[in-house]
């Protein structure tokens, strides 16, 4: 409405009508905040109860005040959960499971991301005969429920002699991570201009040289996303770890379950809560530190299918 000419409003003597800034607080906005706060409370309340319970002595827990803050703070349950909690007859705490999980997560993440990137690269740029068919089959694989293939896999792994071993569980996680990892990298590489690949071909680059020197370094953002997804998924896995890892390599999730189910006399709620928080600490930390990257990765996976 405003004109750049300064003479006009004064000469005409018209009152300048300023458009009003809309009110900051509207019913719609109040509704949105109410919903967000309710949602946050719904998800945070259990976490609060867990944390509070884990620092209470058993005497206070028996009073049954679930939401009350502790009168006497104690870190005993945490120490107990980490190094003294019992699974069956073995009482060396949940730390055993923690280190087992680390041993499973590290190689599984690295290997599955490496092959996912390699697959995505090959499917996007080399366009081998039947590449689309292969990709389709891989995608179908992503939708097959674990339970369906569990028994055949157990038989196959047993026949190969890697059932109940660390390499076995790593292989399982690599296989089950393959469809999503391939999809992630294929979609990322689909957005890379084909001319870049052609230029590298003219420069004499072969399959692996172009992959290692050009395409893999380029994919850093998506590698971070893949690390987040794989670490979280493999750390949280229960059933594969339970079935394939074997007694010596049970991951933290399985051990947590065992800790909680092992009762000799009184059920130690505070120790159980501490063990649970310890177990969920890794994925929780990853979400908090890298939420931005995680959202970006979801978006990258969603667009350009």
């Amino acid at each position: 409405m405003s004109t750049p000419s300064p003479a006009l409003p004064a000469a005409a003597g018209l009152p300048r009508v300023r458009s009003k800034r809309p009110p900051r607080v509207t019913p719609a906005r109040i509704g949105v905040y109410a919903f967000l706060l309710t949602g946050a409370a719904f998800f945070l309340l259990p976490l609060y109860v867990m944390l509070v319970t884990s620092v209470k002595p058993m005497a206070e827990i028996r009073l049954g005040n679930l939401f009350a803050l502790p009168n006497a703070w104690t870190v005993e349950p945490w120490i107990a959960a980490w190094s003294q909690a019992c699974t069956g007859l073995d009482c060396s705490g949940i730390q055993v499971g923690f280190w087992n999980s680390v041993k499973i997560v590290l190689p599984s993440t690295v290997i599955s991301i490496f092959f996912g990137a390699l697959n995505g690269y090959a499917l996007s740029f080399w366009r081998a005969r039947g590449a689309n068919l292969l990709f389709g089959v891989l995608m179908i694989g992503a939708f097959v429920p674990y339970q369906v293939v569990m028994f055949p896999l157990v038989r196959a792994f047993a026949a190969a002699g890697i059932f109940s071993s660390l390499p076995g569980i790593v292989l399982i996680h690599t296989i089950f991570g393959m469809p999503v990892m391939t999809l992630l990298f294929r979609n990322y590489y689909a957005s890379v201009p084909g001319e870049l690949f052609k230029a590298a071909r003219i420069d004499g680059g072969g399959f692996f040289r172009i992959f290692f020197q050009l395409m893999l370094p380029m994919a850093t953002p998506i590698i971070i996303v893949a690390v987040i997804m794989q670490v979280t998924a493999i750390w949280n896995d229960f059933i594969l770890g339970l079935v394939f890892a074997g007694r010596d390599n049970l991951p933290m999730t399985v051990q947590l379950n065992n800790v909680i189910n092992t009762t000799t006399g009184e059920r130690l709620y505070n120790v159980n809560m501490a063990a649970t928080v310890l177990t969920s600490l890794v994925p929780l930390a990853i979400y908090l530190i890298s939420g931005r990257w995680f959202v970006r990765g979801i978006a990258a996976g969603a667009v350009k299918g």
Binding site: P193, E195, L196, K198, A199, A200, R201, I202, D203, G204, G205, R209, Q213, L214, P217, M218
Partner: protein
Amino acid sequence: MSAIAVNSSVEPSPASSAASPVSHVASANVDIRQLEIRLGGVPIIAAMDLHVQAGEFLVLLGPSGCGKSTLLHSIAGLLDVHEGSIEIGGRDVTWADPKDRSIGMVFQSYALYPTMSVERNMSFGLRVNGTPRAEIEKRVARAAEILHLQELLKRKPSQLSGGQRQRVAIGRALVRDVGVFLFDEPLSNLDAKLRAELRRELKQLHKNIGTTMVYVTHDQVEAMTLATRIAVMNKGRIQQIGAPGEIYNRPANVFVAGFLGSPSMNFAEGTLQVADGAVTFRRAGLSVDVTRYAFAQAPRDGQPVLLGIRPEDIALHLDGAAAGDGTGTVALVEPMGAQTIVWMDVQGQQVSAMLSGHAEPVVGQQAPFRIAAEKVSLFEPGTQERL
């Protein structure tokens, strides 16, 4: 740039070692015979013959989708050939790997490796084929000097402007020992000013290093200014191939005539009148004496023809003084500074004329115009071929 010795002869002379060009390989010729390329089963190019001489700057010019990029990519080995053969420097490379074809290529999107510095971008190809480090450094330094990239060697592509990026892309092709440079619309992503600047640099580069260049563009100005020869393509066929002046002044058919020139050539349908050794083009309100036209075949009386005349070959007498070949009404004026384009209405047909920038035509004005008879092109209306 002037420091570079021009050595495009096949045998390198020993005296030139002090200031030798980056490339030590003699520029190569390209021979394409009976080439057929299919994409998804559809023939894009069929039965094409093209011979590029060593040291030549050949521009493939045509509208988008005419197959010019497809042709270039097949020369580069990035597309499989369905039939025919491609020879570079006398060697059959129809099925050779891109790296074994002695070619360097520059792309429209620059296609620089984003994670590598300018220096590593340029040296990638040399590192791949295991060139000694000292030699790599020498060649990169040389290319950087030619393209004025010395200060930028440590930068990443994302820290460069569009023009700098394209210079790096050219440098990357330059450091490799190649006989032929292939350019795939290298200037299309740049703004107008940079485009003109880089165009000049490219021409200078070709003059200095003398390597064969095959250049794809849809920009007629680039084609006209850069080319030794232009091959105008349409629908997968070469319509005409020749020096820029020849293509512009003697277009082989209506497509070529219409594609080059801005505004494009004016066309008028009419008939030829042959009487007493004089040949005249006639249509309602227009008659042009074309007796001196170089007819390929003797003209027949009453023969229907299409007359083409470029805007700059129409003289408009705004003062109405001289009698003209016809009269038009000024419908629209586009002043361009140096020139002024006038769009006239001549008996329901739109005709453009290019006047000097000093002319001040008025819309609605009636003005007689004269056609430079020696500049016209005549086409057969059915086949669209030049007469």
